[in-house]
């Protein structure tokens, strides 16, 4: 072991900012990275070094998929031999069973990124208890998730049907005011009653939760059995994503001689390297570390390799278009047309690359718009418009609608409204229906007056970030990520869409 490694390990062990479980995670990562990187070609290594290709710091040797969506519904029907659990018979046992299983679901963060389609899971047991008991039990479950899985990438799903459990989750989350779990409502205007949608919008304007997910678009592409996990990644239930690597469109634009060179050569080469890296990691995970042969989730049928895929991604489209056209997407037709052409081309290139273990998306790579990590500086997440440069909200939605459809494993935008939107839920519903009709995949409506902030995809409380900056030890690792990404990413400059569509405010610092 080199001196440097020793120092690093000692630094972790002796840290006063890390809790025991965080130290353990950091140490295991150090151990993993003592091994050489999974086998990749020279050109992939060079693309990574040049900042064109990025592996999301996933570690040298993947030994669990990045994202896993266990089929919790199936688990509740069949119980588990490994966990010595009979199928639950009532709400109490169902909640207890879920709490137990969460403990065993890994991901890149160490915490489950998906805690289930909770209405499907618990609604069958809803009438085995009284209203008060149901309220109490669900409250305990949500509190358990917040305290034992302190990562804002932990994501719960409800909808599109109106259910007792779905409504209760929204109500309780408003009362509990926790950032965790992240929450998505699958929304279909033909299935979700307006009354339930407005109940959710009222919550959104108060706590930013839930996301609105375009159920018709999603189920058309992935089938009915999809889930929304981590930030806003869309994957199949019983499946997941082996890995997520991404290419930096801004850097690719910088090394291109012109737009033609970008389209015909540089983008294509980068996508090819992206596919190779993705395949190398996936192959290692499946064939060398043999996750799917060793995990009881797989042997008991709660996950199935055939439902997994990969998520090669792009980020920095905004800067890419700015470099190649000199114009701003969302503001001129030329720039917006170029944005769509680039995204379409990326989709076409990555879908024609060789793909391994991608049956979850028909044997081809999944396509993703990645929403940045804490170390990104001067680059805009995914295919979003740079913070502060957003056009009026409807023009923003209309541009997003041209881009979202290409990303079957996730793409989202955030629209910020003033507090006065709370007075007009019908109007908000109308705008959301318009967005869904325009093929927006996932929509986050934020209200400038709440104590919450959505950082790229996950939530943090503004006051928790202040606590972090004061040096306090915090439960949620996502607060750290949020705080660190806040300043480089200029999130606080994000324009508030005032109700008059003009841009006359920003989130107060």
């Amino acid at each position: 072991m080199t001196n440097k490694t020793e120092q690093k390990i000692e630094g972790i062990i002796n840290s006063t900012r890390l809790q025991y479980h965080e130290k353990r995670a950091a140490l295991s990562r150090e151990a993993e990275d003592q091994l050489s990187y999974v086998r990749i070609s020279q050109r992939v290594a060079e693309a990574m070094k040049a900042g064109i290709l990025h592996d999301m710091n996933e570690g040298h040797r993947p030994y669990r998929p990045r994202y896993i969506l266990p089929d919790y519904h199936k688990f509740l029907l069949q119980g588990s031999a490994y966990l010595n659990l009979e199928p639950p018979k009532d709400f109490y046992e169902a909640v207890n069973a879920l709490m137990i299983l969460y403990r065993y679901v890994p991901s890149i963060t160490g915490y489950p990124v998906y805690v289930g389609q909770i209405d499907d899971c618990l609604e069958p047991f809803a009438d085995t208890v009284t209203d008060d008991e149901r309220d109490k039990l669900l409250r305990l479950l949500l509190t358990h998730i917040d305290r034992t899985l302190p990562s804002a990438f932990v994501h719960m799903n409800i909808g599109p049907k109106d259910t007792k459990v779905g409504r209760l989750v929204i109500k309780l989350e408003r009362e509990l005011r926790n950032t965790i779990p992240n929450l998505s409502l699958k929304y279909d205007p033909d299935i979700t009653p307006d009354d339930f949608a407005k109940y959710a919008i009222d919550s959104v304007l108060d706590t930013i939760k839930p996301y609105f997910v375009n159920h018709r678009l999603m189920s058309g592409q992935l089938g009915e059995d999809y889930g929304v996990v981590s930030c806003y990644n869309t994957l199949r239930i019983g499946g997941g994503a082996h890995t997520l690597c991404r290419i930096n469109l801004k850097e690719i634009a910088k090394i291109s001689e012109n737009y033609l060179d970008f389209k015909q050569n540089k983008l294509k080469e980068a996508v090819s390297a992206l596919a190779e890296l993705t395949n190398a990691k996936t192959t290692y995970l499946v064939e060398e570390s043999k996750y799917f042969e060793s995990s009881f989730l797989a042997t008991e049928g709660l996950i199935d390799l055939k439902k997994f895929t990969t998520m090669p991604a792009v980020y920095g489209l905004y800067e890419c278009v700015e470099i190649l056209s000199g114009e701003k997407m969302g503001h001129t037709d030329r720039a917006s047309d170029m944005a769509e052409e680039i995204v379409k081309l990326f989709h076409q290139y990555i879908k024609s690359e060789p793909a391994v273990y991608c049956d979850g998306t028909g044997g081809r790579h999944g396509v993703h718009a990645q929403s940045n990590i804490d170390t990104d500086v001067d680059i805009t997440p995914g295919v979003r418009i740079k913070y502060g440069e957003e056009p009026g909200v409807l023009d923003h939605i209309r541009l997003s609608s041209r881009l979202h459809k290409y990303f079957d494993t996730g793409c989202s935008d955030i629209y910020v409204f003033e507090e006065t939107a709370k007075e007009n839920l019908d109007g908000m519903l109308q705008i959301i229906k318009g967005a869904i009709k325009n093929d927006i995949r996932i929509l986050s409506v934020n209200c400038d007056s709440t104590e919450f902030l959505r950082i790229t995809g996950y939530l943090v409380k503004k006051k928790d970030m202040e606590r972090y900056f004061r040096g306090e030890s915090l439960r949620e690792d996502s607060v750290v990520l949020g705080a660190e990404s806040l300043y480089p990413g200029h999130l606080l400059d994000r324009k508030v869409k005032s109700l008059d569509g003009s841009l006359d405010g920003s989130i107060s610092k």
């Binding site: 909200v393 409807l394 006065t420 019908d426 109007g427 109308q430 705008i431 318009g434 109700l499 008059d500």
Partner: protein, 287 residues
């Protein structure tokens, strides 16, 4: 035929039910002391005074006219603040077809169009022509947000070609109405009756101004009048805020919350749930 448009807000969630396109027409026939968008009152005289305040080159003075380049405008409001005649250099002209085409791309996001101002009924010929076109070509509704001061024959036509009117009756007592707006309110009250009788009264609105229109007896008269009208419209009560106000009311304090709450209670005792409250720190512009 062209309309003079101060601005288009799309979407607006505060100009009638649901999400709407709010179109603010230029020019007004009242002169309210508490006007919340004074820049919509008068037509531009092309004096050129605002041009020097523009930092981005969005305003140019050319052959005696102020030319506005929308693309360069950053909406800093400097020109509006500099204007001495309560106007704006940013007024645009729209034909009925031109205005419809500006709205059509957003059709799926809105329930309808609301004309506000200024005083929209000043451009009644345009409104009637636009109403016909809108109803012919779309399922969108057209609401008019007005002070109600318009000839009754014209009002009858506007009633026929719109889906509803939101009327801002600024005081019930004629003397107080005159103090606030320089005009009496008898014809306005007659028009409100006309609109309500046609079942087109979408909203009645009162901005509470301390010492001008909030006397208990006057408020009671106002609420009784509203209760006597046919239809299920709601009465929106708005506490005065100095936001956007120019002139002698610019330094007036926001309407006290206790008084606002008391007015709401009084209103509810007469109109029940037909009183529409606004969240108290409401800062939207109202004329």
């Amino acid at each position: 035929m062209e309309a003079l448009v101060n601005k288009i807000i799309l979407p607006s969630l505060v100009d009638g039910p649901g999400s709407r396109a709010a179109i603010f027409l230029q020019g007004c026939n009242l002169n309210c002391l508490y006007c919340h968008n004074p820049e919509t009152q008068n037509l531009c005289s092309h004096c050129g005074e605002c041009v020097t305040t523009c930092q981005t080159g969005a305003l140019l003075f050319n052959e005696g006219r102020v030319i506005f380049d929308e693309k360069r405008c950053i909406d800093c409001q400097n020109c509006i603040k500099a204007c001495k005649i309560n106007s704006s250099p940013k007024i645009r002209h729209y034909t009925t077809v031109g205005l419809l085409e500006a709205i059509l791309p957003y059709q799926g996001f809105i329930e309808g169009v609301t004309f506000s101002g200024g005083e929209c009924t000043q451009q009644h010929e345009f409104l009637i022509a636009f109403g016909k076109l809108l109803h012919q070509r779309t399922n969108l509704t057209m609401l008019l947000d007005t002070n109600g001061l318009v000839d009754s024959a014209i009002m009858a036509e506007l009633i026929a070609h719109s889906d509803g009117l939101m009327i801002d009756l600024k005081a019930f007592n004629p003397h107080n109405h005159q103090r606030l707006t320089k005009a009496l309110n008898a014809s306005i009250i007659d028009n409100i009756r006309l609109v309500a009788a046609a079942d087109k009264l979408a909203e009645l609105r009162l901005t509470l101004i301390e010492g001008f229109n909030d006397d208990q007896a006057e408020l009671r008269q106002y609420f009784d009048f509203a209760a006597s009208l046919p239809g299920q419209f709601r009465l929106k009560l708005i506490p005065f805020s100095p936001f956007g106000v120019k002139g002698e009311f610019a330094d007036m304090l926001p309407y006290p919350q206790e008084k606002y709450d008391a007015a709401v209670v009084l209103g509810q005792s007469i109109l029940k749930d037909r009183i529409l409250k606004v969240c108290y720190n409401w800062r939207k512009k109202y004329d």
